[in-house]
Symmetry: C2
Subunit: 471 residues, 2 copies
Amino acid sequence: MALADLEAGHRNDSGIEVALGVLKQLFGDRLQTNQSLREQHSHTTTYIPSQLPDAVVFPHKTEEVAEIVRICAQHKVPVVPFGTGTSLEGGVNAPAGGISVDLMHMNDIISVNSDDLDVTLQPGVTREELNIHLRDQGLFFPIDPGANASLGGMAATRASGTNAVRYGTMRDNVINVTAVMPDGKIIKTGNRARKSSAGYDLTRLLVGSEGTLGIITELTLKLYGIPENISAGICQFETVEAACQTTILAMQAGIPMARIELLDSLMTKITNEYNDLSYDEKPTLMLEFHGTDNGVAEQTQMFNEIAGDFGGSDIQWVSTVEDRNRLWKARHDAYPAMLAHRPGCQGIATDACVPISRLAECLRETIADVERLDLVAPIIGHVGDGNFHVSPLVDMSDSEEVARAETMIERLNLRTIAMEGTCTGEHGIGQGKRRFLKLEHGTGVDVMAAIKMAIDPDNIMNPGKVVSLSD
Amino acid sequence: MALADLEAGHRNDSGIEVALGVLKQLFGDRLQTNQSLREQHSHTTTYIPSQLPDAVVFPHKTEEVAEIVRICAQHKVPVVPFGTGTSLEGGVNAPAGGISVDLMHMNDIISVNSDDLDVTLQPGVTREELNIHLRDQGLFFPIDPGANASLGGMAATRASGTNAVRYGTMRDNVINVTAVMPDGKIIKTGNRARKSSAGYDLTRLLVGSEGTLGIITELTLKLYGIPENISAGICQFETVEAACQTTILAMQAGIPMARIELLDSLMTKITNEYNDLSYDEKPTLMLEFHGTDNGVAEQTQMFNEIAGDFGGSDIQWVSTVEDRNRLWKARHDAYPAMLAHRPGCQGIATDACVPISRLAECLRETIADVERLDLVAPIIGHVGDGNFHVSPLVDMSDSEEVARAETMIERLNLRTIAMEGTCTGEHGIGQGKRRFLKLEHGTGVDVMAAIKMAIDPDNIMNPGKVVSLSD
């Protein structure tokens, strides 16, 4: 295995030149070809080397995206949708060049329907912008992948994060999308009804398709009332296993945890260092409970009883909203905190997700492997979903260390798949995990390829990601 | 509009003859061609006339289904999957003849993973069989469309029903499926992880595809712990509008209703008649609350306050499990109860689902239309989802009455779509609603057709349903 086993991608230079000329006429200064902007649009929080697009274009509305796609389709030029650039598996790279479509100027919140608990917005709105907008109405959008990602990007990658254990992922929270398809046609995948049996589920087909079937240009999301009581805190354990068993039993007991995040001792230490905190350097669960006052009291009592059975500390509550925000900011800053812990090294995100009954076993074997291979690899995870990230911090100039990290990652993905889990709980396939997609889905990948071929026969939509027709 | 505007279907007589011969050799007595069995396999709880298959075959396992499909694919013979035959829109009709694949002998519960709260089973297991099997383990599967349908059929049609307001629909509760595709290949759409970002969501593509893309031969479903407290009862109102406003506010207040079912005065009367009950003949909400003892107490207090503001009665609780079962049986027997109310007439199910903010308005306009058209049409609905069924009881020999019913249904579907809703919240498209699918989805139907064409180019899988390539 090579960590960055990239497709070269066949460039259609003449097509790109013609399309660029046409687009320049239409978009003027909103089409840019300077090196730094192109670099920025292929750079993501990833170990995968950049592959630059030929230009970046900034549309303002669905019809402009359709116009861009029609021009690119006519000249068989790749189209790579771009949001905040926080993808982890090379999702915004342009292996065959082409046009990066930056959707961040499309950032209108079109309508909040508080009576129906939904919102319709453009894809460039970020989750933090949305929640600031909603706060006065007592509403919030729970999905939180850590990064302040764009909601279009989150839908395209089927993102989830800390709150998914209670509120589901983008799969569960996107009501409909408007999308520009590879032929430039505009479709709307549904209406605002909460359920429908009308035909194939095009919403769920586009959610998680990583821009390979179409570009999401508008979406309607579920909203939730801000709970009467939100309580957060941490609970510490002597071993990862004990934290893990507590999580498993809490989930099995049906406690509606809003957040339950594991940090191993190393990650707790790294979090202390980066955020000037002073938690014991032990395996830690960061917790949040949502409900009525009585409901949260019941939930925390049940949780404390379970944690106590596994030697967990009493919950150390954070009392103010500011302290709670500081706690979750510390959690969200895991990636820069890791990089600061071992300067000059690359953090390589992994994304195992297994049935919760296998979580302790999967973590135990993975930790043993990390130790055996002498890697520095903190662990952090959305353990209520059975999802964890072990992230080796690798000196990429040390080929021997790189090889050991590759071994660990390879074994982790195989272990996860063997335990009836997935190689990616939330990061997506992008370029980095295409080989594991095949291992995980077998003949299912042929069906995915047939769908890709039917919808995008010229393979212009984000080529080289997820399934590619050259496979 | 004609109520039963069926495609004739081009029969491939020579192919059918050859396939029948081959299948007879392989399946012996498990392939039947007698008239009564073929009639039974095209008869559903619907107004749509039967179109008989040429034979019915009873496979025992996935590999046998694959064998059947391969033979039918080779000779371009239609394959129509069959469960309990409770579809409402002609889903099991065979407009071009072919083979009905009865999956009810595939009824093994393969494994209950209580630690992961999931179950893997064959498609012929019914929801009642599953819940009887689970009861001793303190677990249940909530999705409940009324009929004791097969779980494979429920997945194929994206069924929901009374509990969807709390637990979601089959879309939300199917973790993975194993399916035989139109070329006879077997795919498994996922693993047992609770979330995944690995590629296109083939699970959600097959859920709700009504057998037009493949046959589900195994599936893994989410399970839930039986709540500490389940409390059910009814609350009665002076007007449908008041019941509806109570529902809207209860949902907006975030009360986690487990069931909230509306019956208008006529439906309450019909329910009394059929079940020997004596509720006031007023608009009625049948309610169920799930939670801890304290949680249910909180929920019911909140509900009572809202209902009181709209002149609702105090909740009349049903105290024993037997009484609770009797209440929900009365709800589930709505269809035979309606038919008994107007003997000799046909009940025509409709299935409007709108954003909840439009529910009162949609019901008001629909009721006015029913009155204006002088129809007998009781209303029953999963109103927490914005979903309701107004079912004209029509003397099909009275062409003038049939025409009035057609007018009402046509207007209802157009009204629903205009209110950003769907023409089918849970029944599916089948044959009966293909025209409305186009009105609702516009250019999206072209994408559905492209997918159908890519996966089933010879249109052998349940042809004439949802999208057909002859459209």
